[in-house]
């Protein structure tokens, strides 16, 4: 160990490395390139990972939608093709029977799935906007960013069937003049006055929806459009650690049971499992991360092998010098450690330079992609990866250095001296 921190050792190493600068530079470039690729790739894939995370952060990852369709099999005396309708009562049944469900939000909409959007007006301004009937639970599944001073629908709104609404950014822009106070203002939805209690920030993620969406209490929606206990669809979030696919199946089976649908009828209820899709995308991102790891390490390996190769040539060139050193009293161990240290030192220098260069490139890419719509956020290489890479380099540098080092000491000093 003393050897490592001895100034003399390093002088010897700098001496022999500095002897052939071009060769040293080429050697360094080999590993530098490897580590650069490794850092850039793993950083970029991390950035993509982060990008996907951000895309999905606004929606519970284990969430799904379930809606009713029509039967495709006769059952209990009902004919095929019976149109099914989800009911508010299904919620309690699902909550009670399927413990994996964390949140369930029944939703209704006017303006999607064939229904015409509501006419919304304020003074002279008017437009068509989709209107959703919602419970407060909905924000647990798909959090809505509400602008300052506003709020989403709360339990009291539901209880009292208040005529309040949360509008979108676009709706606000189109119905309210600049400088006008939106919160507390009134708008007309299909000829009924509603008070605005919040403005939500539009987020492209989380399925359908837009910047013109209007949310009103489910109970108010029911009264306004006379929907009774009918529910358009359920937004459901399962607990994080459960198998969403299984939960989806359980829910559909339960619904089939409630609605007297044949257990094998696959078309009766439709569903979209966001959790499953999310899992696929995460899996894809993981695959890319893994791939970049493999490619990066392989490139580092190639670079380190290059170092070994060049050191081997260098040892051959220096046979005589090493012979002289040994005639002057260098022990085989001293010769061996010198060459290994040269290898490790070159590898480390190249590695650190590659890391710096890679980090620079990553921040450059990051600044280019900041403003475009691309799932790429904060590309960083986790510190353990960097340390791991450095460790790999030291280990590989040592291992690869062993070959020329062994070669150097395997030549007898007498033969080394004789060589011309």
């Amino acid at each position: 160990m003393r050897f490592l921190f001895d100034r003399n050792t390093w002088q010897e190493i700098f001496g022999s490395i500095g002897k052939n600068k071009i060769r040293t530079i080429i050697t360094i470039v080999g590993v530098l390139w490897g580590i650069f690729i490794y850092i850039t790739l793993s950083g970029a894939s991390k950035g993509m990972d982060n990008g996907f995370e951000r895309m999905f952060e606004t929606i519970a990852r284990n969430s799904m939608f379930v809606w009713a369709q029509s039967t495709s099999m006769p059952n209990e005396g009902f004919k095929t093709g019976r149109q099914l309708q989800l009911k508010l009562g299904d919620v309690t049944m699902i909550e009670n029977r399927i413990p994996e469900v964390q949140y369930i939000a029944p939703r209704n909409v006017k303006g999607f799935f064939g229904s015409t959007p509501a006419r919304v007006g304020r003074g002279k301004e008017s437009g068509s906007y989709p209107v959703f009937g919602d419970f407060p639970t909905f924000t647990k599944i798909a959090p809505k960013k509400i602008y300052d001073g506003g709020r989403f629908i709360n339990d009291e709104d539901i209880e009292k069937a208040r005529k309040v609404c949360v509008i979108g950014e676009r709706t606000e822009k189109e119905l309210f003049k600049k400088g006008e106070k939106t919160i507390g203002g009134f708008i007309e939805i299909d000829d009924v006055f509603f008070q605005v209690v919040g403005v939500h920030k539009f987020d492209a993620s989380g399925g359908f929806g837009g910047d013109g969406d209007i949310f009103i209490p489910f109970a108010t929606f029911k009264k306004l459009y006379n929907t009774g206990d009918n529910v358009g669809w359920f937004s459901i979030a399962a607990y994080d650690d459960v198998d969403v696919v299984k939960v989806e199946e359980n829910i559909k089976n339960l619904l089939k049971n409630i609605h007297k649908v044949h257990p094998d009828d696959e078309r009766a209820f439709g569903s979209f499992n966001l959790g499953e899709q999310f899992g696929k995308i995460i899996g894809f991102a993981k695959g890319i991360t893994f791939l970049s790891l493999i490619v990066g390490i392989a490139t580092i390996l190639a670079g380190v092998i290059g170092i070994g190769n060049i050191l081997l040539i260098s040892v051959k060139e220096r046979t005589k010098e090493l012979g002289v050193r040994r005639a002057l009293g260098a022990t085989p161990n001293e010769v061996r450690s010198q060459i290994i240290l040269e290898s490790v030192f070159l590898t480390m220098i190249a590695g650190v330079m590659g890391i710096i260069l890679g980090a620079g490139t990553l921040s450059l890419i990051s600044s280019f992609t900041k403003d475009i719509d691309f799932p790429y956020t904060n590309p960083t290489v986790p510190i353990p990866y960097v340390i791991g890479a450095l460790l790999i380099m030291v280990v590989l540098g040592t291992l690869i250095g062993l070959i020329p080092a062994q070669r150097a000491v395997s030549i007898k000093p007498i033969d080394a001296l004789r060589e011309e």
Partner: protein, 233 residues
């Protein structure tokens, strides 16, 4: 200083074995300046290599300053070389990316002498060979004679018990040869034991004793009247 008894060495060349040293007996006292002469193939270099612990004899005894040299592993041999021996080669064998001073300091590095002291001692020996002003020059900026003087300074830097010179003048013209021999004689005058392998009569006669080798045996071993090289310079 050097005690050799019945030294044998043979080299395997495929199926044949080449008997190079066929029982050498040699005794060298401290302070001697001995020339080993012989035509090529007489075994003089092999003998020097064995004396220099660069090679090992097949049989026989070798005592260096009372230390039996036997069954050395490389590490031990390296330690002994560093402690007991200084080498001067025909082709100088300076390390070409090190300055004259650094070359001279190299054996001291392997003795783990601290840098400051190493440089001081290297400068002292460079001064002795008259190359103090050339300390920072690289070998390729020096003439052949200067290179060999640096090599001698390097061999002396470790303050060895015996200086082994393998054809030290082999690559030099006669004038520089005499300069180098003058230096070797001066070092010998200081009491150092020196062995010079050569095939040049005039160089051999600048030593105090000549050992003639032929076909692996010593055919003649005589003390001679030393010719001072300085008379030629």
């Amino acid at each position: 200083m050097i005690e050799i008894k019945d030294l044998h060495k043979s080299y395997k060349m495929g199926s044949n074995s080449l008997h190079v040293l066929k029982g050498i007996n040699l005794s060298i006292e401290a302070g001697e300046l001995v020339a080993i002469m012989g035509s090529s193939g007489s075994g003089k270099s092999t003998l020097l290599n064995i004396l220099g612990m660069l090679d090992e004899a097949d049989s026989g005894e070798y005592n260096l300053d009372g230390v039996p040299i036997k069954n050395l592993n490389e590490t031990k041999a390296a330690k002994y070389r560093n402690k007991f021996l200084g080498f001067v080669f025909q082709s100088f064998n300076l390390i070409n990316y090190k300055s004259a001073m650094e070359n001279v300091a190299l054996p001291l590095y392997y003795q783990k002498v601290p840098r400051k002291e190493r440089e001081q001692r290297a400068m002292k020996y460079l001064g002795q060979v008259g190359l103090k002003e050339w300390a920072t020059h690289l070998p390729n900026e020096l003439s052949g004679g200067q290179k060999q003087r640096v090599a001698i300074a390097r061999a002396m830097a470790a303050e060895p018990k015996v200086l082994l010179a393998d054809e030290p003048t082999g690559a030099l013209d006669s004038t520089t040869s005499y300069e180098v021999m003058d230096l070797i004689q001066k070092i010998n005058d200081l009491g150092n034991t020196i062995l010079v392998v050569t095939h040049e009569e005039d160089i051999a006669h600048m030593c105090k004793r000549i050992v003639y080798l032929k076909d692996g045996v010593i055919v003649e071993d005589k003390k001679v009247e030393q010719v001072r090289a300085s008379t030629y310079v």
